[in-house]
Symmetry: C2
Subunit: 131 residues, 2 copies
């Protein structure tokens, strides 16, 4: 998917996430952007929907929070399954991709004739520094 030109609100939300150390909730983003004219949650959620669609942002289901995609390159092609380690101590989130896991999940879902649309893999624990 080619990354389209972002709108004003999308750009603001993307910048907020990019400059953040870790994941942010929609309401945290909202608060960060009040100075830029944001007033309501929907402004954030609408921007996030698009950014998720473009693959520039990921949603962390177990945190109800969002992070900028850590892949440096553009988002023109799908990166397959994305997985995360999430440190309970410092909040650090590390994104990774693994072909072997992807293959294995594919085999398993295929065996049930299940058509995968989105895969969530989130590992909660403690990072090296916080262990």
């Amino acid at each position: 998917m080619a990354t389209p030109q972002l709108t004003k609100n999308q750009t603001l939300v993307m910048d907020a996430l990019s400059h953040s150390e870790g994941p942010m909730s929609a309401y945290t983003i909202l608060d960060k952007l009040r100075d830029h004219g944001f007033r309501a949650p929907l402004q954030v959620y609408r921007a996030l929907d698009k950014l998720l669609e473009y693959g520039m942002v990921h949603r962390l289901e177990s945190l109800n929070a969002f992070v900028a995609c850590s892949c440096p390159h553009d988002h023109e092609h799908d990166h397959g399954v994305t997985a995360f380690t999430i440190c309970e101590g410092c909040g650090q989130v590390t994104e990774f991709h693994d072909e072997a896991i992807e293959q294995r999940l594919s085999t398993l879902t295929r065996a049930q004739n299940f058509k995968t649309e989105k895969t969530t893999i989130e590992i909660r624990g403690h990072c090296q520094s916080c262990a």
Copy 2:
């Protein structure tokens, strides 16, 4: 972990989940149990916390909902990583376990010196019937 004797509220919540076709939200459980004297969300959440701890119930992060564990036997030992396919059509949830994925995740987290506490794997899509 040995499964302890369940309290009244825990039993009610467990029964509600066991007899349900699919996952239920905490508030749906609450509504089902009003006739049995439930009045407040906390009664449900407290019971769920224990049932999760005992491994008798799983939380589906991507749905904010809960399902009874499908393992038939008691819950005295850990089953390692649990994964789910979740059909967007009919809501059917299938629990599965795979040693290969577990091993691979273990290798990957070990490489970052990450100490895993809980792993979430949820695959959204469509089941054979709903494809």
